[in-house]
Subunit: 422 residues, 2 copies
């Protein structure tokens, strides 16, 4: 397992566009209050390698890192493809999701700074489960605002968090001013990552010993997730693969909501691509919030309460309410500045899928490889199937790496409703 | 990963008591029709090592064998114990349970003999999920009778099986004569492994190309599960541990329903104990069906339809209906002949827990080690906690191995109801 993170900020195709921060208090002032200092510093890290604190490495090892890189030979055979398909199996982590990688690091830094409570939002619940476990690891409390429709669809994730002692609330929440405001305007609001981020910020600001943790979207989160791309690089080598061979069309594919499993996978490989490696990066998003494929490149906020600065990114607009589908991790209305920059500069390709297409890809993976992924990861599988079809038509034999971001055991109700009841 | 199974029939403290088979047709004739021949032969294997077919080994490796042996240092620290506690982590297998080890082997043999459909019963659903996946691996159909109360408690396991294309029915079933008879007598019957085994046998007998597969209780199942004990032996050695050091009170602990995770774990270690190693084997059962701790040692059947022979074992009696708790894998009314023999001869200790005590032990494991086990495995954890308390009181420093038989993600409703709602 790598014991340092790779800071790829120096490998971007250009500077990340500046934020607009005109609020009062400013988003920077808010961040200074609620975000652990070490994480704010990591957002602007300049060194190429950031050492991982010993206790973080220890916990990650105990959780089963490095996770397996699985060659999907049966899927390859089923498709009759010349491509070699690999799955980076984050589903085997104890919380069933890659989110644990950064949750452990962030909880560690919060505890080191004397914070006693972690406050955050969660969409489908994977991030919330990981924060609940990481809080417990470092003796902290956890308060988690879960998007209302996801909470109703995925009650088991709530049960898991509560078994760990976390306090779980529905978003929009009647416990916050912003939540009450949203509910007053629209009592049936299904919730979104925008509402939940707002609830969590307001709550964290109300408690001086609380830290607000971000599950995605921020450079420090991407930094922690570079374990994914670093492990993949080492594991591909162990499989005898060389990534980026000219004329082959190798692909690294991940779903993208806040962008952290995507950036964690591709971040350590940006430099190779910039230097000419034949390597494609592909983001799979949901048609429920198709920012990278159909959004506008504009300034906007990721929250609805004015707690975060305006950032330049592909967006559906702040008034956009994503439909309440089963893909809670991909319902963000605004893509992060960094992912949007990669897309804008042509480094990153993107494709959107409706949930049925994604879940059908997930079922195919289950039926061939025996692996059930969460709906988010199934979007990456759907994207890979398209790449395979195109590669085969062009007689290419690429290496394709799919980030299997999490387990779908707790999403079986969604699979059932979409594929079996319909 | 071991590539042969260990046949411990020669290491038992005496001969397995003969069956009584007076039915017409006899249970042996029924077995000859519905059970794959290779499995019947393995029930009476005489060689000490049975080679594993190549395709079985290949599938098991793809599924992630060998599974990790995890040192539970945080649980040890929490308990302040001098014991060294290890967890054999079967929860990481793709179906979330150790049942996959034998499902793959049995499906392979059934396919080799030209059977096209696998029929079986399942309690909590772990065995059914494993058969559904194994059937898909070898191109077979699967028909699964799931105990009614478990089906209602754990709908996600049904969804999983159906995603794989399996046909899932509630037991007692209106599709079989025995099921209709049971329902006529007791329309509210919650189902049991006895009803489900009966449904499955009748169904398998009705289809000449079907094979009936047993999830536990039979020597061939125990044989396949000896991978557990073999891997544990090798992994303990890699951890620098020697098992069975005199005066230390080392323990191998597993829950016991049909007895397959227990026998798989201890089978390869029976000889060492017989030869004087200081090694205790401990079965954790449910107070819902406390056969080994409170049952009678008597002849009886594991099914209700007369499809199986009478075997000598610890039993609650054939008319016993276990309460519909969340521990579907431990609701058998009759313990297998082999497990009962070990118990009767004093080789095996046993202890029973109510579901609340077991689930509390499971929650403690989650809160310390971050691992959520199915309720069945949590019984083994509860047993280990008792052993730890006793060892500490006697100032012993044993090695304790807990068979973490499966993941509890799909049992979160049960954890919720018992620990959070109560």
């Amino acid at each position: 397992m790598p014991t340092r993170w790779y800071n790829f900020l120096g490998d971007l195709p250009g500077p990340v566009p500046p934020i607009r921060d005109s609020g009062s208090p400013s988003a920077a002032e808010i961040a200074a209050r609620v975000r652990p200092r070490a994480l704010i510093e990591q957002n602007g890290a300049t060194e190429q390698w950031v050492p991982m604190p010993g206790p973080v490495a220890e916990r990650l090892r105990e959780c089963g890192r490095p996770t397996p890189l699985h060659r999907a030979r049966r899927l390859e055979r089923h498709l009759g493809t010349g491509a070699r398909i690999y799955l980076k199996r984050e589903d085997v982590l104890p919380t069933g999701s890659f989110k644990l990688n950064t949750a452990i690091a962030q909880a560690y830094y919060a505890a080191e700074e004397g914070r006693t409570t972690l406050v955050t939002e969660t969409g489908a619940g994977q991030w919330g489960m990981s924060v609940a476990l990481a809080a417990r690891m470092f003796g902290l409390r956890a308060e988690i605002f879960m998007v209302r429709c996801s909470l109703e669809q995925k009650p088991y994730r709530r049960h898991y968090m509560e078994l760990l002692g976390a306090r779980v609330r529905s978003s929009p929440s009647g416990e916050t001013a912003i939540g009450r405001k949203i509910l007053a305007e629209n009592p049936g609001h299904p919730g979104s990552l925008g509402t939940a981020i707002s609830d969590a910020f307001e709550r964290a600001l109300s408690n001086p010993s609380a830290a607000y943790l971000a599950g995605s979207g921020m450079p420090h989160v991407y930094l922690h997730q570079t374990l994914l791309g670093l492990e993949v690089a080492a594991q591909l080598k162990a499989h005898g693969e060389e990534l980026g061979v000219a004329g082959r069309g190798d692909h690294l594919i991940a779903c993208s909501g806040g962008g952290s499993n995507l950036c964690g996978l591709i971040g350590p490989h940006l430099r190779a691509k910039a230097e000419g490696a034949d390597l494609r990066f592909l983001a799979a998003e949901s048609t429920a919030a198709p920012r990278l494929t159909q959004g506008t490149y504009a300034y906007g906020r990721t929250d609805l309460g004015g707690f975060t600065p305006e950032v330049l990114g592909y967006t559906m607009g702040e008034s956009f309410i994503p439909p309440p589908n089963h893909v809670g991790g991909l319902r963000n209305h605004h893509s992060s500045a960094l992912v949007s920059l990669l897309r804008h500069e042509g480094v990153l390709d993107a494709v959107a899928f409706d949930q049925r297409t994604a879940l059908e890809a997930g079922r195919l993976l289950l039926q061939t490889e025996g692996l059930l992924l969460a709906p988010e990861g199934s979007h990456a599988v759907a994207a890979a199937l398209e790449v395979v079809a195109k590669s085969d038509a062009e007689r290419l034999t690429p290496v394709i790496v799919i980030l299997a971001s999490g387990s779908g055991f707790l999403d079986l109700q969604g699979y059932h409703e979409v594929l079996l009841e319909a």
